[in-house]
């Protein structure tokens, strides 16, 4: 089954490249997303076995935390695939470019699946770099000057960052000579034999490298540009899945340090970067003039929250796992809705978008509800995750951290709400945009699905999900 999940997107990508046809492209994306969703849910429910073929078993494995990230990715990819159908109709993309888009997206997803399943540190690195390469062409898909600039910054900054992570991996293998392998299970088992000096140094490099991909401050420079210039379904995938998968890579490395009893060193670094990200996003959020960039800064903030959760013991990690899913769903819904807004107003400026509720009520409602989710209002899982995180602060004896945490999060929420309220509720200036065309139902369907998921999980989290989350959180011991 594992082999199928990895191979299906690659095969579909080849098919779209061989036969560039609108229907084939659309269905390749939908079928690919469907296969991944079906099989990851099947594995979750125990219908399929998570084991791969024997010869791949060392390289690719699916554990509980991987399954959680795979499920999140499946849902986000499915919604991006549905929205892409609408996007290409609206943009009237030529079949050839459309097939290029579909193939790149499928390969991008395949690379992310590779990251999730990798059981070898250097192989994980290979797949993270592959996600950079496949998504860079997607960011430049609209081929405008600004998109080209964003794609260049993205591919260059991330490639250099990831190269530094490779330096970290080499340093780690210097320190782990007695183990003689970079398979995660060997590294975990022999963590106490790794020379602590080299391990610490390699962690610093890997943190910078993977941190660049995760998009945490101060190495986030590419993120607002790339997220704002990419086509909306691509932005949704970038924010909802790419950042997560790189974060999973960091979690796997962090486990080595925990096994080697060096977690106090890594925790202090990760926590510092987490709070720095909160601070940076709070500063930039309040004066952001472009709503897609605003969402991108919110992604930096949420990655900061995940970083902080990672350092706060079991409860913190449980909160981080819950938050990962909730953030991915909500942020994807927001980015897809931003595609609607962009279609209606032809502008990414917050000041140019007014009175969405009157002009296009459904888009307006989707926007405001999704903003409330990301802000962490009570019925939604984001509230629960932030609440649990604060509980984790007190449990780990660092209750005073609540003060800066609250302060930064409040500033971010204030910035987002201020922009959202003016976009949704203010009176539209009727002369500039007289009428709004009605959008196809495909432009609403994925967001509605994502928000329904969030609402139902927030109202009553199913036991099976809690079980998966706590199993995932057990990964770090």
């Amino acid at each position: 089954m594992l082999l199928l999940i990895v191979a299906a997107p690659v095969l579909l990508a080849i098919i779209t490249l061989i036969k560039p046809h609108r229907v084939i492209n659309d269905s390749a994306l939908l079928v690919g997303a469907g296969i991944i969703a079906l099989f990851s849910i099947g594995i979750w429910c125990g219908i399929f076995s998570p084991a791969g073929p024997r010869w791949l078993d060392n390289y690719f494995r699916l554990d509980a935390i991987g399954l959680l990230f795979l499920l999140i990715m499946a849902v986000v990819f499915l919604s991006a695939a549905i929205y892409s159908v609408y996007y290409h109709r609206e943009q009237k993309t030529s079949p050839r470019r459309h097939s290029f888009y579909a193939a790149s997206m499928l390969l991008f997803v395949a690379a992310m699946i590779g990251v999730i399943l990798s059981n070898h540190l250097a192989l994980l690195w290979v797949f993270i770099e592959a996600t950079t390469l496949t998504s860079a062409v997607l960011i430049n898909f609209e081929q405008k000057k600004s998109a080209l600039e964003a794609a260049w910054k993205y591919i260059f900054i991330c490639s250099v960052g990831i190269a530094l992570a490779f330096v970290g991996i080499i340093i780690l293998s210097m320190g782990a000579k007695s183990i003689g392998s970079l398979f995660f299970h060997d590294l975990y088992a022999g963590a106490s034999q790794i020379n602590p000096f080299w391990l610490k140094m390699s962690f610093a490099f890997i943190l910078v490298g993977f941190g660049t991909k995760i998009g945490v401050a101060p190495i986030h420079a590419w993120l607002p540009d790339a997220h704002s210039e990419a086509p909306s379904p691509v932005s949704a995938l970038l924010s909802g899945t790419l950042l997560n998968t790189a974060f999973l890579g960091l979690i796997r490395v962090q486990e080595i340090l925990i096994q080697a009893n060096l977690s106090s060193f890594s925790n202090s670094l990760i926590r510092f970067i987490g709070f720095l990200s909160l601070f940076i996003s709070a500063v930039f959020m309040t004066n952001s003039k472009n709503y897609k960039r605003m969402l991108a800064y919110s992604s930096i903030e949420n990655m900061g929250i995940l970083f902080i959760g990672l350092t706060m013991g079991k409860t913190g990690l449980f909160a981080a796992m819950l938050h990962t899913g909730a953030h991915s769903f909500a942020k994807s819904a927001l980015f897809l809705t931003s595609g609607n807004i962009l279609h209606l107003t032809r502008s990414k400026e917050i000041a140019q978008v007014r009175g969405l509720l009157r002009r296009e009520p459904l888009t307006g409602w989707l926007w405001i509800v999704a903003i409330l989710v990301i802000a962490g209002l009570p019925p939604f899982p984001t509230f629960l995750s932030k609440f649990l995180l604060i509980k984790a602060f007190f449990e780990s004896g660092m209750g005073w951290l609540v003060v800066p945490f609250f302060l930064f999060v409040l500033i971010v929420i204030f910035g987002m709400m201020r922009a959202a309220v003016s976009m949704v509720f203010a009176d539209p200036d009727s002369h500039s945009h007289p009428t709004s065309p009605r959008l196809s139902f495909l432009a609403y369907l994925p967001q509605i699905l994502l928000l329904v998921f969030l609402l139902s999980f927030g109202a009553a989290i199913p036991d099976k999900l809690v079980q998966l989350l706590s199993e995932a959180a057990k990964f770090l011991q």
Binding site: A122, V126, N140, I155, V160
Partner: protein, 211 residues
Amino acid sequence: MTDILIILFGTLMLYVFAASRIEAFIKTLSLQGLILFFLVVTDIRDMNWINSAFLVLETLVVKAIAIPWFLLRTIRRNEIGREVEPYISQFYSLMIASAIFIFAFVAAFWAARVEGDIKPLYFGVSISMIIASLFLIVTRKRIITHILCFMMLENGIFLLSLSVANEMPMLVNLGVLLDLFVAVFLLVIFFNKIQSLYDGSHIDVLTQLKD
């Protein structure tokens, strides 16, 4: 023999700092690839044949021939002016390069004393190469030089990985090479697009996106 090769490798880096022509830079990259090839060959007894064949292919074919040829073709096609155009003068560049060398070697010898089983020369040259490429990226105006510096960074990392006797599995080696190749290919494609969309190939033209 190995030591002489590594010293030559390091000297080439100093030459890059002093060189003012882009073509010279690319030829240096190719020479570095060749030196890496010789380093692999002198070291070949300890490896199994698949790995050594692969490393020979990677250094000789990809690093010494294919990528430099591809880059050279790009600059000739685009008729880019020949100067690298640094932000700071050649003299200060060289001073800083020396400082990087000193720092890297102090760090390498110190690490060798703490650790014992690392080779200070390998370690010092590769670390200084990595730091120096990052420094060059920051101080050069032309976008094409950024790609060249990225290649130099990769060469430094390759040297560092050679100093680890520990072999990576074949699958990983293949993946790393494929990533590198596609990365350079894409960077050049994007570079060509920037050339055609903007007038001028300075990094300063890319300042449209900001808050």
